[in-house]
Symmetry: none
Subunit: 175 residues, 4 copies
């Protein structure tokens, strides 16, 4: 499949009923957003599909130049941060449907395997921190409180220097 890079969005053009794969990416796997006749993927989604060999990313829609994985990786590092991609990939590989958690102040909303975003509310909010990071107790309280307020559980993902990820469930409780 071909995608074209532009403004940190990768666009797959859908030509009337031909590009069923692109439509299926959106409808079955909840990738990207349909805008007119294009499927727009975030750079993180696009890089995931690229790593899986399902997408080639071109310099722009009029170019024949395929971009290298490193080129895309660097865009991610300079923008979202690579940790965000690592957690995305890891959770995606485990079968979760992943959407942005911005409204809740966290990196991702997570839907259980098999549930689609339309079917109901997400179950978890994912907050990413790096192992060298200090979590201010106040911010910690804030992350948990948001999750609690919308009846989700906070999944704290700590990315270490070797890019391994450790996950923690965190719940507000009255013991």
């Amino acid at each position: 499949m071909r995608g074209d890079l532009s403004d940190e969005i990768v666009t797959i053009t859908i030509q009337e009923n031909i590009n069923q794969k692109a439509i299926s990416l959106n409808q079955k796997s909840s990738f990207g957003k349909l805008e007119g006749n294009v499927l727009e993927l975030s750079i993180i989604e696009a890089f995931y599909l690229m790593e899986k060999g399902r997408l080639s990313i071109y310099k722009n829609s009029e170019s024949d130049e395929k971009l290298e994985a490193n080129y895309i990786r660097n865009i991610i590092k300079e923008n979202s941060g690579y940790a965000k991609y690592l957690v995305y990939r890891d959770l995606k590989d485990r079968g979760y449907i992943i959407k942005t958690g911005f409204k809740y102040g966290s990196e991702f909303r997570l839907y259980e395997r098999g549930k689609l975003p339309g079917d109901g509310h997400s179950d978890y909010l994912v907050k990413i921190i790096h192992e060298n990071y200090d979590i201010h107790a106040l911010d910690f309280a804030s992350y948990v409180r948001v999750a609690h307020g919308v009846k989700k559980t906070l999944l704290l993902a700590v990315v270490d220097d070797e890019e391994d990820i450790t996950y923690y469930w965190v719940e507000w409780t009255k013991p």
Copy 2:
């Protein structure tokens, strides 16, 4: 309606009393700027009208080649940034009159539904940031200060990876 692309502006030529639709776009909906016998639309305004099926954009004024939506979308992505268009479209769909906020260091000035720019001052300044962005407290202060100085409220629009927009009112206060 026909518009012609030229250097990131789309011009609609008005032929004496014939092109009432173009005049109405300007006078009733505050699109573009009348310059002699042409209505000049920003690429963002033009793309909005194109997406609504109200405008066809041609390669230039001497061409019969209609441009594809993707082509215009790419111009926007490479120039203004696509987030700016997304916020424009969202606010326009909600009925606001939108003008550039450049003079105030923000993306847009916003007029309440039904108010025309000539009738009075705009009510809001719109500042757009991306969810992966760090807001420097000094910049934040600057945005709000400018808005306050011209008796407007700052509307902070945060665009997330899924192209959804979250809005925040921000006002300087002495509690």
Copy 3:
């Protein structure tokens, strides 16, 4: 009035019906917490009363050594951070009742002048940042979301290098 420092808490001993001032500090002005026959003040509350000339702080309960303002100021700087005290003092001077906002991930809960904590819910959450600080958009979203979820307004307090404080109301909105 005499208070004794110990473990960053300042204790005022209440001797049966004699120390009406201490009881009134708690019941009328919502300072501190009554524990048996002592009123325990946070170091911030105690320093505020000290600055107002209403409290002398002694090294410990068996000492006659009065502590200097600077000594207490340094304890605050090394623990809560001095910005937290500055905002506390400023809001207290304006007549607000101030309680910790920890459960909501913010520095303070604020009650309107004249309202006591028992009378109803607090109206505002106060989040403090320094002018040299970068607010990650995600954290910003988190602070506002918590406030919204508990029907409070976020009051962002930015402390600058000259220890002046600028306040901003921030509200999540669907324009």
Copy 4:
């Protein structure tokens, strides 16, 4: 009941079959440690019993001088830290059996209501931090890891400036 202070331990002397209350404190409620004919209470346990009116603490075993609550409170503040006592009291009031968690690098081990330490393993490890504290991600990982390794759940107790306590369950997970 009489206890005698000595080097931050309070000892209750048990005179053959007379001091059933002291034995019961240990066997039914898991307070302290029986050493020959004395029950040794930590200063925290002793102060808890003192606040409940079940224990008088004397200056030493040869003295008739009863110590004031403030005097004991100050010993706690200067040694364990008062936060530790506050969490102890709160959890004790909720019916838990509480033992030191020192071996596990945490403040307390916690047994469910009704379970005695001999009956099985403790269920929770309690780690106490103050609201103004920054949690280093590495330390966080360490607390959870230790708890996980001994099949316990981490209960993070955050004490705020008003001496209120907020609790969080934290569990290591492979989502």
